[in-house]
């Protein structure tokens, strides 16, 4: 049975044209871009080409692109680098409560090392209010970091407005666009952003390839010391196959984005429209319109995410969940909780992230399989039994339960 893959947030297949572009750089054109002989010059040429391709995707200059090995590394470099460069100007950092852990945990570490950190909340749809960012900025604020879009709930932030607030206040603005760059149009100039994280896997590139846009003139000391690669922003020999792959993927994303997104949005909108018709008691999470093109996320009431994942896997369908049980940390998604969802609902989280190989038939398969699975799990669920017996008592109980006592 052909499998249906709906977890492009976790991993995406590398585009075959990207793979072809990468292959020569493993064994034939294996040179180090830092070497001055011919192999090195050839490698340098490929590195420069890729940097230009990635820059074009963002409307940036090539020298504003620093290649890294992951979105987490880019986020660490941005936060730690800016904090160390500007610590004499102030010691206050603002982040949103729904940032990826590589932003949140880095900010919290800085918070234990002499910086004050304000976490700005989000509304029920996962939106950060630019006015709330403005209110959080103090005299000693040196950095604001708010993502461009959430991979968990699909919500796209009003990043340009947040950027304008930061610019007016003279504060550096970093945006984690790991889920957005290459998937939706990003123009770093229009977005008023000083620093931006992007990841090749979001647009058909290989794993291990990511970058940080750093606006010209912004000081950002390397967090990995050693040689002077990447304009002294990241030491270590360049991973040329990965970088070439990211460059090619960026070029293709730029050319094909509109067509890709038109196709994805059709499948997404069908899932968002039809899933609640097939399965009662479900709640769309994230923004209904301001949403990543291939992103569908629901909370399915009275059931827990891992059970759905395992049964869907049996049916040949791969999906993700933000439930506590599916996370290695055994904590429900901080994004869903920040949006004000009760734990019981967050446990029923279901995330479908679509990619270019998904078809209408894939959507049919999911819509056919899910109702029976949910019904089976609800038949076992004591929460569903309580709800059926006494809905009011069930709701009252959920409000009471805020902590885990086991």
């Amino acid at each position: 049975m052909k499998r249906v893959y709906f977890d492009h947030a976790a991993a995406t297949p590398v585009d075959s044209r990207v793979r072809e572009a990468m292959l020569p750089f493993f064994s034939e054109r294996f040179g180090n871009p830092q070497s001055i002989y011919s192999e090195g010059a050839q490698a340098k040429e490929a590195l420069d080409l890729s940097r230009g391709q990635v820059a074009q995707l963002l409307n940036a200059e090539p020298e504003e692109i620093t290649f890294t090995a992951s979105g987490s590394e880019s986020n660490n470099l941005a936060l730690k680098g800016i904090a160390s460069a500007r610590r004499d100007k102030g010691r206050h950092i603002v982040v949103s409560a729904i940032e990826h852990v590589s932003v949140l945990n880095t900010a919290r570490t800085l918070g234990r090392n002499g910086f004050a950190v304000t976490e700005v909340g989000v509304d029920r749809l996962g939106l950060v209010d630019p006015a709330a960012v403005k209110a959080a900025i103090r005299k000693d604020t040196i950095l604001v970091s708010v993502m461009a879009a959430s991979i968990e709930v699909g919500t796209m932030q009003p990043a340009a407005e947040i950027g304008r607030v930061c610019r007016e206040a003279g504060v550096v603005f970093h945006s984690d666009a790991a889920a957005a760059a290459g998937a939706v149009p990003i123009d770093v100039r229009a977005m008023n952003v000083d620093c931006l994280t992007l990841v090749a896997q979001a647009f058909g590139g290989p794993k291990g390839a990511a970058a940080l846009f750093v606006r010209k003139g912004l000081r950002l000391p390397s967090q990995i010391e050693g040689g002077n690669q990447e304009n002294n922003r990241r030491a270590g020999s360049e991973d040329l196959p990965a970088i070439v792959g990211m460059g090619k993927a960026a070029e293709l994303a730029r050319a094909e984005m509109a067509a890709r997104n038109a196709a994805l949005a059709v499948l997404r909108d069908r899932l968002i429209r039809e899933l609640p018709v097939r399965v009662p008691h479900v709640h769309l999470t994230g923004h209904p319109e301001q949403r990543l093109p291939g992103h569908v996320s629901f909370c399915i009431e009275f059931v827990e995410g891992e059970g759905m994942l395992l049964f869907l896997d049996d049916a040949g369908i791969s999906v993700a969940s933000g439930s506590a049980c599916t996370s290695k940390a055994l904590k429900a998604s901080h994004v869903l909780l920040a949006m004000g969802l009760p734990h019981s609902l967050a446990q029923g989280s279901l995330m479908l992230t679509l990619g270019p190989e998904n078809t209408d038939e894939d959507v049919n398969r999911l819509l056919a399989a899910l109702p029976g699975i949910v019904e089976r799990l609800r038949a076992m669920s004591p929460l569903y039994a309580q709800f059926k017996k006494d809905p009011a008592a069930y709701q009252a109980r959920l409000i009471q339960e805020k902590e885990c006592h086991v």
């Binding site: 009275f302 059931v303 827990e304 891992e306 059970g307 395992l310 049964f311 049996d314 439930s323 506590a324 049980c325 599916t326 290695k328 055994l330 429900a332 009760p342 734990h343 019981s344 446990q347 038949a379 076992m380 669920s381 004591p382 929460l383 569903y384 039994a385 959920l398 339960e401 805020k402 902590e403 885990c404 006592h405 086991v406």
Partner: protein, 123 residues
């Protein structure tokens, strides 16, 4: 991630349901923890004649509930109280380390149902 035995009990859980006029009911966990189990016991002549459960939780929590119910049926009340979390995990052929807490819940829920029965009997 899970053993075949765990997956079997997850896919085909034994003794799911509620017992009307149960002699004892035990509940552990809540949705904040991620798992919640309710156990029902029917006792006759000091033996667990029937055990049923309802569980909200991950694959391991459902498999553990199923295994606990299977292990408990037919045992005397005293024997059933001796069932430990480690025994349940062992019968399932082991659980991933981060899922061991689910096996803790299973035996606890059974024991609470039995204690509920004992309390009611004393009255």
């Amino acid at each position: 991630m899970y053993s075949e035995k765990v997956m079997d009990h997850f896919r085909n859980p034994r003794n799911v349901g509620e017992i009307e006029n149960a002699d004892g009911i035990g509940e552990v966990g809540n949705p904040v923890c991620g798992d919640m189990m309710t156990f029902y016991v029917k006792v006759e002549d000091g033996r667990l004649k029937d055990v049923k459960f309802k569980t909200f939780g991950c694959g391991a929590a459902i498999a553990v509930s199923s295994m606990v119910s299977e292990m408990a049926i037919g045992k005397t009340v005293e024997e059933a109280l001796q069932i430990t979390n480690a025994m349940v995990a062992g019968e399932l052929g082991g659980l991933p380390p981060n899922k061991l807490h689910c096996s803790n819940l299973g035996a606890d829920a059974l024991h609470r149902a039995i204690e509920d029965y004992q309390r009611k009997k004393e009255k």
